[in-house]
Amino acid sequence: MKLRLAVATAAALLLGAGGALANEQLLQLQRDANQWVMPNGNYSSHRYSELNQINRDNVRNLRPVWSFSTGVLRGHEGGPLVVGDVMYIHTPFPNRVFALDLNNPGRVRWRYEPQQDPSVIGVMCCDTVNRGVAYADGRIYLSQADTTLVALDAENGREIWKVKNGDASKGETATMAPMVFGDKVLVGISGGEYGVRGHVTAYNLRDGSMAWRAYSVGTDEEIKFNPQRTTHMGQPVGENSSLRSWEGDQWRLGGGTTWGWFSYDPQLNLIYYGSGNPGTWNPSQRPGDNKWSMTIFARDANTGEARWVYQMTPHDEWDYDGVNEMILVDNMNVRGRQVPRALVHFDRNGFAYTLNRETGELLVAEKYDPAVNWATHVDMQTGRPQVDPRFSTRREDENVTNICPAALGTKDQQPAAFSPRTGLFYVPTNHVCMDYEPFRVSYTAGQPFIGATLSMYPPQGSQHMGNFIAFDAGEGKIVWSRPERFSVWSGALATAGDIAFYGTLEGHLKAVDMRDGRELYSFRTPSGIIGNVNTFTHRGKQYIAVLSGVGGWAGIGMAAGLSGDNEGLGAVGAYRSLADYTQLGGVLTVFALPD
């Protein structure tokens, strides 16, 4: 507690200072378990807390202590930040930000609501979600739906500067949380279903001027690749590595949007993130490997130059965006070998990847849902998935059936948690398969550029559409798996209390025993949970917080129940409409043990 006061004081002194000091301050803050200063808990995206007041033995006594309506109905992804005595929450469009006073639960210290052209709503493919704000150096950074990045004074919500990162009239939108490192703030771009060519852009904290921008697809200069120094599977990528993997100038509609999460290794000074689907969903229209869509990037934080890349799904045929979070683990035991700096990534394509994050060397690639069938395995020499030809969709106008996972992925952006105590990952997953029928489409700027129609349903023989699993990424094995009726679309939290938390689409906040996944606590919040759970202390007492508010991609289809040819198979439970369980509405719920 004293430490936090000291840090808060330091923060006050540093207000407006900017520069490298912000980095130092944030580096300290992200280690303080009493606060939750970045969306995924720390720069390594662990979503783990050392707090253990709430633990395996007493979590059954947990209860909601206060709640707060955001006044916004649509899908609430992301989660609260806690800095000192203030909690910051955000909403989907219109992207309100509330600063809530923890000394006076729920009192609004300030609120901010940007003015945005509502036409942007119509070009957000999968609801108007936003995954949160970033804090640094007495400021809050918000990436609005219309791609405006705004710096707010954390004390009063006043605008300090703002800058436009994209053009919504071309389908460029923003959903991701920005990340601050050093004297810069980094932000990506959404619009993978609109032919948008993705990029990440670093802006200077001082005044919002652009420091660097790196595209996912394009010329070496645009993608900030050094043909000799940038590597893929240990080899230099060579000249024009992206352009050579497309026909003609199709790369201009090359996709690779960057709407997931950022991680940062301050020692290596590298940032990590993944890129999304290439152009249209009709693979026949874009022959080639479509580099560097579906790729993990490690970039120098100062210059943006790519150190290494790894393309997980060359020539995507299923919409398996590679944007999910990159979890950085030190001194990890990988199949008997100690890896000082590892990166673990649970991809949409159903494989969990473990890499050496210094070199990009691929160490483990295993399925984290046994239902995954589109590829038999990943060739560890080439890094390429071995696609089962039965599930290739490179067949225009043909309906390819029973592909697992569905386009939703075995996991979407909902981030997993990592416990350094157990060495295991706690992963919210989807358990859904699909039929996929690609067809030819034409491109119109600012209009959907899809070219496939899909049906989604649970895997054959399954009655449920989600699992919450514990995963050993060193061995590539599922340790336990806990079925859920619907996809688990909520970011997980692991704590030193030996419990893991997550939310369900029906709206339950759940705590489970890390040993076996046994449910220890469940409370039904007002709406389905697609937000991420966090924890913090206030006046020495531990709290748990989560945003409810069903929607997002999970709100598609599941609002009406999933469909498909399998409907006759009698999996009645699985098809029951989500609407029978929950309705819309953004609400923050804060939990604690009784005094």
Binding site: G71, R74, C125, Q447, I450
Partner: protein
Amino acid sequence: MKLRIAAALLALALCYPAAPTAASEEKPYRVENGRVDRATFNGYRRYGNSCMQCHGPDGSGSSYAPNLTESLKRMSQEQFNDVVINGRQNVNAQAQNVMPSFGYVEDVALYLNDIYAYLKARSDGALGRGRPQRLEN
């Protein structure tokens, strides 16, 4: 359009048991034993490309866009066309709904009748959920 009329005429000529009556001739779709004519099938696919991202599979709606199988019980084809071509906004304290304009989108504007036919078949209960099978021809 011509093709569809041709198909309808062909059906009549072959004296299908389910030969359309005067009333059903006004239906924009043809569904026989769960199979649909070419135009309705095209509508299904175009729907999948341009509409499903918001309105959900099978026109059944999502948490943020209306269920079109319900909407078409109240809307005329003219109203439907107007909304698709010109878009519509309903943004207030209760709702943040924006239907973009598809007037300049080839894949929608050219096949507006087909998309309507598919959704109308769904709305009338003539067609179930999922991918329809095509009629021969």
